[in-house]
């Protein structure tokens, strides 16, 4: 099982990622690049939290294989809303 030293290291790492996210938000990146960067960092943070804070790294692999693909699939399927969201803009009253 992980040690307190590892937990504190991960905690500091997560705070560092939050700091990087904040710097990026005020660095003048384009909206698309900023969104992609923030999402990537949030996914990295979530992965670290799942593996170490929620102990998926130390559980039988069958647990992660049962759970994670299901939620990833559900979230990927939600991406079909974007074409309709862009269509909404053209439906506004002039």
């Amino acid at each position: 099982m992980p040690t307190l030293k590892l937990y504190v290291g991960i905690w500091l790492g997560l705070i560092a990622i939050v700091g990087i996210e904040t710097i990026l938000a005020f660095s003048g990146l384009s909206s698309g690049l900023l969104l992609a960067s923030l999402l990537l960092l949030a996914i990295v943070e979530a992965g670290i939290a799942l593996r170490y804070f929620m102990h998926l790294k130390y559980e039988p692999p069958a647990l992660a294989w049962t759970l994670i693909p299901a939620i990833v699939f559900a979230l990927l399927m939600m991406n079909q809303v974007w074409p309709d969201a862009r269509r909404l803009v053209s439906l506004h009253f002039p």
């Binding site: 938000a25 803009v89 506004h92």
Partner: protein
């Protein structure tokens, strides 16, 4: 006594059930965040309400408080599993305190925004009213989870201290608390940072 075997090998049934809840709740938060993205992409007059000071600084403090509460929860679970009851109770108490601080900071921020005229259906900046609707909707759902978590940890702490429940209950409650933290890892950048203005 016959114990029902866990469907996932050596994983306790109650832990597995908590994981199933977490996955379902993750889909809920995923849907509400996708809904926010959908409305934002589809709005012509979206406004960004958050200045670095005080809004983003307040959200940063909230983030650090919540991350720290995950650390204290990990220490509590570790102490409970080693049979150090008083240490576990103390760290669970610290987790509850940090959860209360997070909720208090959040409610103070809400009060401040409402004082400026923000609500579910009003935008004092003159843009889309969906800004307030999505902000209060998403952060409200998360705050509800935080408050529920604080209550759950309080109940588990009392039960564990009295010897009614063992360390596995503390660990299962910890899973929920870390999930609340995990959700905030998406709420902070998507709802706060993407709505920040220079």
């Amino acid at each position: 006594m016959m114990l029902e075997p866990s469907p996932i090998g050596a994983v306790q049934t109650k832990k597995f059930v908590m994981w199933l809840f977490i996955i379902a709740d993750a889909a809920t938060f995923g849907a509400i965040l996708f809904g926010y993205g959908y409305l934002r992409v589809g709005s012509l007059n979206w406004t960004r309400p958050f200045a670095f000071s005080p809004s983003i600084i307040n959200a940063l403090v909230m983030t650090v408080v919540l991350l720290t509460s995950s650390l204290t929860m990990l220490i509590a679970v570790s102490a409970a599993q080693k049979g150090k009851k008083s240490d576990a109770v103390r760290w669970l108490g610290a987790t509850i305190l940090l959860g209360v601080v997070f909720a208090a900071l959040h409610l103070r921020e809400w009060a401040s925004l409402m004082g400026e005229g923000w609500s579910l259906s009003a935008n004092p900046m003159g843009g889309s009213t969906l800004v307030g609707a999505t902000f209060f909707g998403i952060t409200g759902l998360h705050l509800l989870h935080v408050i529920s978590g604080v209550i759950a940890i309080g109940v588990i702490t009392v039960g564990f201290n009295r010897g009614r429940w063992d360390a596995s209950y503390v660990e299962t409650t910890g899973l929920y608390w870390h999930f609340v933290d995990l959700v905030w890892m998406f709420v902070f950048p998507l709802v706060y940072l993407l709505n920040a203005h220079a």
